[in-house]
């Protein structure tokens, strides 16, 4: 009985659809205004359906596109590094020597990252087989992320800038003061620079860059923007920095390895003897 009823309903719906379509076809054939209106509505519906389909397709290829963008970012970063070295050589009256480009870069994807403790860490999908070594930097085009500590075959473990044990040598402005930059311990995009001398005036809104003095991170990577500064113990200034890289939105990073690190370490050891 129920099956007969539902069959009747399907039959009625089919008759309704057929007759309604016939009426619409007749209407578009005789009414010019209605013809234009219905065609326009039909085009709009097609556009909406195609647009939605395209958006869904794009959504599912986002991961691939992000990887491509991360690779492209790394290439651009390399190019910036090269151009920076070229400009420096030109300024110093030397010819550019490609050997002065000292950093090797390896793109990596974050496997795991912690953000909820005072000692946050990061795990990357590249290890010793990919050429990653301990004590190498982790950066993005938006700034410093952290430093690799331990390297496995296929993965590497590091501490992030959101770790109270980590500090980065940073410079305010292109030729300004250099001081260590540390996480503020509170937010995912906040840091502080401590120990700045009193005589140096710090304006809010100045860009903070990597100094390049640490042999872990390349120089001149923009890190963030200075905020409010305050006097500490009447002797030094502490300035708050808003980081460009929000740690809550991290996915792709670049591992930077200073190719001259061993030579630098060697010369330091010699000097200490």
């Amino acid at each position: 009985m129920a099956g007969r009823k539902s069959y009747g309903q399907i039959w009625s719906a089919a008759v309704f659809l057929i007759l309604e379509i016939a009426a619409i076809l007749m209407l578009t054939g005789t009414g010019t205004l209605q013809d234009i209106w219905i065609s326009r509505a039909s085009h709009r519906t097609h556009a909406l359906l195609w647009g939605t389909g395209e958006r869904i397709r794009n959504y599912f290829t986002l991961d691939e596109q992000n990887r491509a963008l991360a690779d492209k970012n790394m290439e651009l970063m390399k190019a910036v590094q090269t151009l920076g070295q070229q400009a420096l050589s030109f300024k110093n009256g030397h010819l550019y020597d490609s050997a002065t480009v000292k950093f090797r870069m390896i793109p990596a994807t974050i496997v795991k990252v912690s953000r909820n403790s005072q000692h946050n860490y990061i795990v990357l999908n590249k290890g010793s087989e990919d050429g990653v070594k301990p004590q190498t930097g982790i950066v993005t085009t938006n700034g410093v992320v952290g430093m690799v500590n331990t390297v496995g075959k296929h993965y590497s473990y590091g501490i992030t800038l959101m770790n109270t044990r980590m500090s980065v040598s940073a410079r305010i402005g292109p030729t300004g003061m250099v001081a260590p930059l540390e996480w503020d311990g509170k937010s995912t995009d906040g840091a502080v620079m401590r120990g700045l001398p009193l005589h140096h005036e710090i304006a809010p809104g100045d860009t903070v860059w990597t100094s390049g003095f640490s042999s872990v991170f390349p120089s001149d990577i923009p890190i963030g923007i200075t905020q409010k500064s305050k006097l500490v113990d009447g002797s030094t200034v502490e300035v708050a920095v808003r980081l460009f890289q929000d740690f809550s939105a991290l996915r792709y990073v670049i591992i930077t390895e200073n190719l001259d690190r061993d030579s630098i370490a060697e010369i330091e050891k010699e000097a200490l003897k």
Partner: protein, 172 residues
């Protein structure tokens, strides 16, 4: 009974043709009694049969008036398709189970008027926007729907009086 209904139905179609083709009161007002005619078709008619009657009646009206052929059908077919649902909503499912036709005397003026109002509103909600075809502002469309529903419902009530059975006769 049956011949009386058929003659009344054909007469109502002729009246609708005159209302549509000869009387043009205002651009804000369209008078249509077709929804009530569909509602007053015998309950024994299945939805498919009601749809066919609505389609043919609409084409006849469109053919003899200035309207574009198919315009009335586009608006009347949804009324025909939802007729049973409207009846169930207003009169309850007993009317359908008893296979009793809509009657002002049996179901009462209030319920019949409500059913006519719903059917007429549904008709004009489709008819007016399709007739205007995006050339008129929303305020015009809304006013036209309101006026047309009000006048057509009032007129349809008298049509229901003519078409509905005076006794508990059944379509046989």
């Amino acid at each position: 009974m049956r011949s009386r209904f058929v003659i009344s139905f054909i007469a109502m179609i002729a009246i609708q043709v005159m209302l549509g083709g000869l009387i043009n009161l205002s651009q804000y007002l369209v008078i249509c009694i077709l929804p009530v005619m569909i509602m007053c078709l015998p309950i024994t008619f299945g939805t498919g049969r009601v749809l066919l009657v609505a389609f043919v009646a609409s084409l006849v009206v469109d053919f003899f008036t200035d309207g574009a052929l198919g315009l009335t059908a586009v608006a009347l077919l949804p009324v025909a398709f939802t007729r049973n649902a409207l009846i169930r909503l207003v009169f309850g499912s007993e009317l359908l189970s008893r296979r009793e036709d809509i009657s002002i005397h049996k179901q009462g003026a209030g319920k019949v008027l409500l059913a006519i109002l719903l059917a007429t509103t549904l008709y004009f909600l489709v008819f007016v926007p399709v007739d205007c075809a995006g050339t008129r502002p929303l305020s015009f469309i809304a006013l036209r729907i309101l006026l047309s529903v009000a006048v057509s419902t009032a007129l349809s009530y008298y049509v229901a009086g003519v078409l509905s059975p005076r006794e508990a006769d059944r379509w046989s």
